[in-house]
Symmetry: C2
Subunit: 316 residues, 2 copies
């Protein structure tokens, strides 16, 4: 049995987990700051050092490494093409660099695709064959399992389910394009919408909760919604409607049996899931597209990507 290392490379944090076998939980895990501004060479050196620090010396022989990173990236070549939030990451052959050091197989995929793989293999969608995953936080990422296999597409760029145009001429998205679901229902979109209503003079407990040290966030909106605040509930409901409408479209395209929602915003819970489910049912072209679909909260939390990276490594 191989030892497995899973790496989750984020713009803020770099997480590494060591698995003794191809099952969660990891035997050990560690989180360090990415310090992305130092550029790829420094980050890769820190990644190697962090892996070394967690990997028992006797386990270096039969090792496999799986890495999740923001995209776009090329999983077939193991190259990060371009990562908007990490300066200097253009055409970086990350797998080759790690393989040179550790002399072992190294595999790479998009962080949201790996979270989908994690939730499918060991989380909310275990035992299913066709699943869609959305992670709703600062952005909206996605992944799909089709007939028991991660959807990667011709160049491994598939699964960007939050970057689909749902509004002609809509606002600008983090990716530079317009009218994507992310512009309407991500955490920052929810916070912006609540702020606009507050500034328009609508009454809300959010006016008390927000100050200079605590800016308006989707988390605060969720908190106010749970406390019964009408403005917050309206904003959460609107975001839910956008997501539900898009899930209806994704059901028409993919016809999944399970849809899993993860990411910080999904933790708002029932007040968010309820309008999503309602909108999805309202927007499908035939009840068959929802009647046998389960809409579930993610189970693995922040670990979904690490678990997915472990699964990918175990198959390498």
């Amino acid at each position: 049995m191989s030892s497995l290392i899973a790496v989750d490379l984020g713009a803020t944090n770099l997480r590494v987990a060591y698995f003794k076998r191809d099952q969660p939980p990891p035997a050990d895990s560690i989180k360090v700051p990415t310090l992305a501004s130092q550029g790829p060479d420094a980050v890769i050196a820190r990644m190697i050092e962090t892996i070394e620090s967690i990997l028992p010396a006797r386990k270096k022989k039969d090792l496999r490494i799986g890495v999740g990173s923001p995209g776009p990236l090329d999983p077939f070549r193991g190259v990060i093409l371009d990562t908007p939030n990490m300066p200097g990451w253009n055409e970086i052959p990350l797998c080759e660099r790690l393989a040179e050091h550790f002399s072992c197989p190294v595999v790479l995929d998009n962080d949201a695709n790996l979270a989908a793989l994690g939730e499918w293999s060991h989380g909310a969608a275990q035992g299913t064959k066709n699943m869609i995953y959305l992670t709703i936080s600062t952005g909206i990422g996605g992944g799909a399992i089709i007939d028991g296999k991660l959807l990667r597409g011709a160049q491994g760029l598939a699964g960007e389910l939050g970057h689909m145009s749902v509004q002609s001429g809509g606002s600008q998205c983090g990716c530079g394009q317009h009218g994507h679901l992310e512009t309407l229902a991500s955490g920052p979109a929810i916070a912006r919408r609540a702020l606009a209503l507050l500034e328009a003079g609508e009454a809300s407990m959010l006016a008390e909760l927000v100050d200079d040290s605590e800016p308006l966030s989707a988390e605060l909106v969720g908190l106010a919604a749970r406390k019964g605040d009408a403005l917050a509930r309206e904003v959460v409901g609107e975001a839910g409607e956008h997501i539900g409408r898009h899930l209806a479209s994704l059901a028409h395209a993919f016809n999944p049996e399970v849809i899993v929602l993860g990411g910080g915003v999904s933790r708002i819970g029932e007040l968010f899931f309820e309008p999503i489910e309602r909108a999805m049912r309202k927007h499908v072209m035939h009840p068959a597209y929802v009647d046998q679909v389960r809409l579930l909260p993610a189970k693995l939390g922040d670990s979904a990507g690490l678990v997915g990276a472990m699964v990918l490594a175990s198959q390498a």
Copy 2:
């Protein structure tokens, strides 16, 4: 080697082809009116009769039948669930009915999915592994090949790529929902848009071409566009922009290597493909999503669905 019968059940015409081997062209084919208003029993009797008329008597032993029909339908059970344009087709076990008569395997799928399968196996997308197909005519249907397999989803309802919401609160679609691509870029949508501009007083040769015997159609708009008519070119360009924007979204989701466009409206040709390609490039979040994608016209014309039904039957 089995004999293969392919059936294309349409609201207007019923087409049957007999293949001696699992390759086009068919040895024989026939088209009769569906007469859908007579209800499922009469249509199924006509289908059986038409198959009998084309199938050599000595070929009845080792036979397989593949049927394409408008959806939604359940390909796993061989049941047509509900076909909006054919009254009375609710929960009709078409495969069972044909299998009872012919005592052979009978398989069924959505007509657009089968056209995708046809174009992939013997048409424009031959030799590829990841392909998206749109057929643009009275409606907009779709299909996807993922890793060399037709995308069917959990209940076989996948691939409705024209029924995805691209405009919040948009106009009503043939399927009853709102803001789908079909409402913006199908043949009737193109004709409606041209008519609206004509009625608003814009000059166009379409005013001469249209009369009581020749209503305004996408075909006429395409003809006028090819003759240089500015209004017609504007309308074709707008529809192309909507399709290209949606293809960018589909590229983010599926990352295909080939996109094939079929259906009557696609025959407008270069004047339609050019704005589609331009819009797709404009709307992708990274050039990698278009640089290696080929946008191709369908090759098999009206036969794509029959060829796909034959391929499905050959695998039964």
